[in-house]
């Protein structure tokens, strides 16, 4: 029984950063931006979170720092791709590399270490215990006692759905991607909607990064996002950006992430178990491509 609970909690922890980053990415996806900078935003945020939490001994400051860190990358993205009209793909790749370079550089400059920084002074984000639900057998230990960011991610999923599909802002956001010209001619500036979507994306990626370095573990390691931003991009593409679909896919990836860790207990070497989420992404892509092909065939 404990194994099942362990697998489920592992799944939730693995899914959270991917879910948050993908929710941020989906807002830019709807606004018509090919945004691949989630990886960099998350990494920058993870670093800033550790920095803020270390300096002020408070996870709240850490989270605020994380959002600010991701926001800096978003502002650079806006400056280059919206203002100067540089290619989005190029900007995204450059920003990801900038995030790797600058966090490595700052790690060395500020904390005087290479590779990994950890300290007792870093305040991690607390787990939330829900009084009554906690007592329920089976459900209690899964629903209660998770990290604060996990609950935020659940709220964020519902928030994203309402924002995109039920509000005027969401309508304009989707119009910016679907038909920018008609949005412009109706008096709303497409570039403005794209800027908003990138800023919101930074907030989500900031939370994702903070979860990685202050929730999942309490440390910063070079390049610790390890491709999660790319997986979140895959998640967006797989479900055409629908927030609930993203939640489902993220849980699936989280499951394989947790499964990998679990398999290590059975003597499978860690390098192979670490591959599992990426292989799962490939399988998901295969299913998606096949579904697409069948859909095309049925419309012909």
């Amino acid at each position: 029984m404990n194994i099942v609970i362990g697998l489920i909690t592992g799944m939730i922890a693995g899914a959270t950063p991917i879910l948050l980053a993908a929710l941020g990415g989906t807002l830019t996806f709807y606004a018509g931006i090919f945004n691949i900078a989630m990886e960099g935003m998350m990494l920058m945020a993870a670093f800033a979170a550790v920095l803020g939490s270390f300096l002020f001994h408070s996870w709240v400051v850490g989270v605020l720092f994380a959002i600010a860190g991701a926001m800096i990358l978003a502002l650079i993205f806006i400056f280059f791709s919206v203002t100067l009209d540089t290619d989005e793909f190029v900007t995204g790749i450059a920003l990801n590399l900038f995030a790797v370079g600058s966090t490595t550089y700052l790690l060395r400059q500020i904390f005087k270490v290479k590779g990994v920084f950890t300290s007792k002074l870093i305040d991690s984000i607390p787990n939330i215990h829900i009084p009554l639900i906690e007592e329920i057998p089976l459900l209690g230990p899964v629903v209660s006692g998770r990290n604060l960011i996990v609950y935020l991610a659940v709220i964020a999923t519902i928030f994203c759905y309402y924002l995109v599909f039920k509000t005027r802002f969401g309508l304009r956001l989707r119009a910016a991607g679907y038909n920018p010209n008609s949005l412009d001619s109706s008096g709303v500036r497409t570039s403005q909607m794209r800027i908003y979507s990138l800023l919101l994306c930074a907030v989500f990626c900031g939370l994702a990064g903070a979860f990685l370095s202050l929730g999942y573990v309490t440390l910063f390691a070079e390049n610790m996002t390890a491709g999660r931003g790319w997986i979140s991009l895959a998640a967006i593409i797989l479900v055409d950006g629908h927030p609930y679909g993203i939640a489902l896919i993220s849980l699936l990836f989280g499951f394989f992430d947790g499964l990998g860790l679990f398999l290590q207990n059975y003597g499978v070497s860690s390098q192979f178990t670490s591959m599992v989420p990426y292989i799962a992404t490939l399988v998901a892509l295969y299913v998606y491509a096949r579904r697409n092909r069948e859909r095309e065939r049925s419309t012909l």
């Binding site: 100067l84 490595t104 390098q271």
Partner: protein, 345 residues
């Protein structure tokens, strides 16, 4: 042509100014830092030879990315293809021992095959199942990373070493030095020349370029678009694999942990800076290698950490690309104004 050179130079200058500003904020002296950077990368035959040697993996992966991007396939799998090429060359060098005249070409072939195998897998998944090569190659990078980490930690580990690495390869497989210059540099130049010839002068290269610009037009014109896609994937994978093989054969002569960490992503960045031009890739590749080589020396005599090279590189790529695209707008505007003036007089 002059426009391209002008906007490129302008981009480099602006990037260096931005880099200097970052250093000023950090409290370093930009001029002394840049001086040290240049001294340790270009000042004299020794540093220059090191710079050229370090440019080999950057230029080759850059070439791979440039050809892929210019021909259509979004092959971002150079990091994975590089480590697979490196692993293949290492394994060949561990178990086969021939005279250098045979050993070196054989190991290079292994490296090429290793890289092409990994990119071919991505190409196959695209052809057979229509899976986007963009995400597939990225995921394969991760898988290749873990696979090679496993290979050097378990089956092929050097038991005497402290960290995961293979034993050294047969000495006949080491790339010889010609004076101060590593022979891998010559091989790199030859690869650039051959690829330039294929890409600019051969029918195959022409078809690739046309497909990259407009695949519908290429198909209607009678190009085998699917076949070309696979060919480009294999060739670009082979180039990245060759880079990996040369890293092993020219450098540590074994596969050490974290071998391919940055080369391939830097190569992708170089291709972007070069706007997918092959000769430009060579120039920018050597340029970036100079920054990286100089940064290591710079760290010794100034307080600036060598990691600043990574920051500088990211600034470079953003500024160069933005300058290039914005310069087009400015040049067009100037030309339009010139024309308007001529008409009124």
């Amino acid at each position: 042509m002059t426009r391209r050179i002008l906007s490129g130079v302008l981009g480099v200058v602006i990037a260096f100014v931005v880099g200097a500003l970052i250093m000023l904020i950090e409290g370093f002296e930009p001029l002394a830092t840049y001086g040290a950077l240049a001294q340790f990368s270009l000042g004299g035959i020794g540093p220059l030879a090191t710079t050229l040697k370090n440019s080999v993996p950057l230029v080759l992966t850059g070439l791979s990315a440039a050809i892929a991007f210019a021909s259509g396939p979004v092959n971002l799998g150079q990091p994975g293809q590089l480590v697979f090429g490196a692993l293949a060359a290492t394994l060949g060098g561990l178990y086969i021992s021939l005279p250098p005249m045979l050993e070196i070409p054989l190991l290079l072939l292994f490296a090429i095959a290793g890289g092409a195998l990994w990119s071919g897998l991505a190409g196959l998944l695209k052809q057979a199942f229509d899976m986007s090569e963009f995400i597939v190659t990225l995921m394969l990078n991760m898988i290749a990373d873990f696979f090679t980490a496993w290979a050097i930690a378990y089956p092929f580990m050097d038991r005497k070493a402290f960290s995961p690495m293979t034993p050294p390869i047969a000495q006949s497989g080491w790339m010889p030095d010609i004076g101060p210059l590593s022979s891998s540099v010559l091989l790199m130049l030859a690869a650039v020349a051959v690829m330039w010839f294929v890409f600019q002068r051969w029918r195959a290269g022409y078809e690739w370029r046309i497909t990259g610009q407009n695949s519908l037009f290429a198909r209607l014109g009678g190009c085998d678009v699917r076949g070309n896609f696979m060919a480009v994937m294999l060739v670009t994978g082979a180039l990245a694999g060759l880079a990996g093989g040369l890293v092993v054969m020219g450098g540590p002569h074994r596969f050490i942990k974290g071998l391919g960490a940055n080369y391939a992503w830097d190569g992708i960045m170089i291709a972007i800076m070069a706007n997918n031009g092959l000769i430009e890739t060579l120039i920018y590749g050597v340029f970036v290698a100079a920054i990286q080589t100089g940064a290591l020396g710079m760290e010794l005599i100034t307080n600036v950490p060598s990691e600043i090279a990574q920051v500088l590189q990211a600034v470079l790529v953003l500024v160069i690309v933005a300058t290039r695209e914005y310069a087009v707008v400015v040049f067009d505007r100037l030309a339009a104004r010139h024309q308007a003036k001529e008409r009124t007089t």
